[in-house]
């Protein structure tokens, strides 16, 4: 059994798969954004080049900072994303959960933000500290709505917490996105993952023109390479999670694989469209938006789900 898990973790759907897919999807993002802006955009392997170039660069450490945290933070976040992705991916592709259920996944997903905060603020840089503060506020903002939308599939599957249970329940009874509450939750979930990935309009923590990339300001070389990679890997993790929770998962029979790819690309495309048509909002606006609107709508979805709509 353990060998299987290591295969899941390292090859498919874990490390190798999501890092390569993530970098490629990152290219799709950059390319489509460029087309939005009447530009040509980068070549296909641009993100790979960026990554390997950063690996070869010098790593700068801050004398006064807490260096250990500074160094291990990106790798912990990296390992966490790989782990979560392989848990989600295994449930999707093999219909087999291991390691944890949805609550574990929800808590594990917070580690990325935690590591950004710890790594960023370990240097004592004021911008990083500001960015860390914004990151944690953003986490708070989207977490409430995210918890609420995660409850919808739990309720609809008869209080199943296992990911494979949610998938198989959908394979039997149809995707939750077809129901009213599922659809509402999916839309809110799309906004939540936008915020969780810190993409525009929620790129508040690393606002380049305000606080100079925020927590990533001091990072360079290999460590920065891994932060960038983490960011791209989230392009895989979160859409997969959304598909798993709301959109019927992955049906290995017949044209299921094509449907899956189309679903995935559609979600990525929606993310890119939202990304390119909005300015960065303020952190208090984000808090207001998520707490006063998105969460209320998500709560509505939860209530609807309880009553079976």
């Amino acid at each position: 059994m353990k060998i299987d898990y290591i295969f899941y973790l390292l090859i498919f759907p874990g490390l190798l798969f999501i890092s390569i897919l993530g970098l490629l999807i990152g290219w799709v993002d950059r390319k489509v954004s460029a087309r939005f802006q009447f530009r040509v955009g980068p070549p296909l392997f641009q993100n790979f080049n960026d990554f390997f170039k950063l690996l070869g660069k010098e790593t700068m450490l801050v004398k006064e900072g807490v260096i250990t945290i500074f160094i291990i933070a990106p790798f912990i976040a990296f390992a966490m994303i790989v782990l979560v992705s392989s848990i989600i991916g295994t449930s999707l592709f093999y219909n087999n959960s291991f390691g944890g259920d949805l609550i574990v996944v929800m808590y594990l997903l917070m580690i990325n933000s935690v590591m950004i905060i710890l790594g960023g603020s370990s240097t004592g840089n004021v911008y990083s500290s500001l960015g860390a503060g914004r990151e944690i506020k953003l986490l708070l903002a989207d977490e409430l709505a995210f918890i609420l939308i995660c409850l919808v599939p739990i309720i609809k599957s008869g209080f199943q917490l296992q990911l494979d249970g949610i998938v198989s329940s959908q394979l039997q009874n149809g995707s939750y996105i077809g129901s009213l509450s599922g659809f509402i939750a999916f839309v809110v979930g799309l906004l939540c993952i936008q915020a969780k990935m810190a993409l525009p309009p929620f790129h508040i923590p690393e606002a380049e023109t305000e606080i100079v990339e925020g927590p990533f300001m001091e990072y360079s070389g290999t460590l920065l390479a891994f932060w960038k990679l983490n960011g791209f890997m989230l392009y895989v993790t979160f859409p997969f999670l959304l598909i798993l929770l709301f959109w019927g998962g992955f049906n290995p029979e017949g044209p299921g694989i094509i449907w899956f790819i189309l679903k995935y690309l559609l979600i990525v495309l929606l993310i890119i469209v939202i990304k390119n048509t909005n300015p960065r909002i303020r952190i208090d606006t984000a808090l207001n938006f998520f707490w006063k609107y998105a969460s209320v709508i998500a709560l509505l979805a939860v209530v609807l789900a309880v009553f079976g709509y």
């Binding site: 950059r30 460029a34 802006q37 009447f38 530009r39 040509v40 955009g41 980068p42 070549p43 641009q46 080049n49 960026d50 390997f52 170039k53 070869g56 660069k57 010098e58 790593t59 700068m60 380049e208 023109t209 100079v212 990339e213 990533f216 300001m217 001091e218 990072y219 360079s220 070389g221 920065l224």
Partner: protein, 139 residues
């Protein structure tokens, strides 16, 4: 090293150092990113933090006040880091070189690897300069 340089040549992240210029080179540098010239297709990206930079684009004459900061900035950049002087100012001092507030050549402050002359250089010239840098890196 060759393999690495090849990667570097395909992914140049530039940081813009404005060392008391007249703004024109700066605007033209930004112009490079915009739809008409779009240097992102060569993998060139403008970054906000010098820690991420591969190339510093220096414009201006580096007056007394800003010169030590430019030097400090260069020290803080992770190596290998190349410096490109954009415009006539870093190359010769343009019309400002006799001012009381201009300490001398920018070259005295930080080592400059490549000059792109012009007041301001056309974006095409800058792209050519970057291409030359890439050629140097590759071989």
């Amino acid at each position: 090293m060759g393999w690495y340089n090849k990667r570097l040549s395909k992914s140049i992240w530039v940081f813009h150092v404005s060392a008391s210029p007249c703004n024109n080179c700066d605007i033209e540098i930004l112009d490079l990113l915009t739809p008409k010239y779009d240097v992102e297709r060569f993998g060139i990206k403008l970054v906000g933090s010098v820690r991420h930079a591969d190339v510093l684009l220096v414009s201006g004459v580096a007056n007394n006040k800003v010169a030590p900061k430019v030097k400090y900035l260069y020290d803080q950049a992770p190596k290998p880091c190349f410096v490109v002087g954009v415009g006539t100012c870093p190359a010769s001092g343009c019309c400002f070189k006799k001012s009381y507030n201009v300490p001398g050549k920018v070259e005295d402050t930080i080592p400059i690897n490549l000059y792109i002359p012009g007041c301001p250089p056309k974006p095409e010239a800058m792209i050519e300069g970057v291409v030359k840098l890439v050629e140097v890196l590759n071989g």
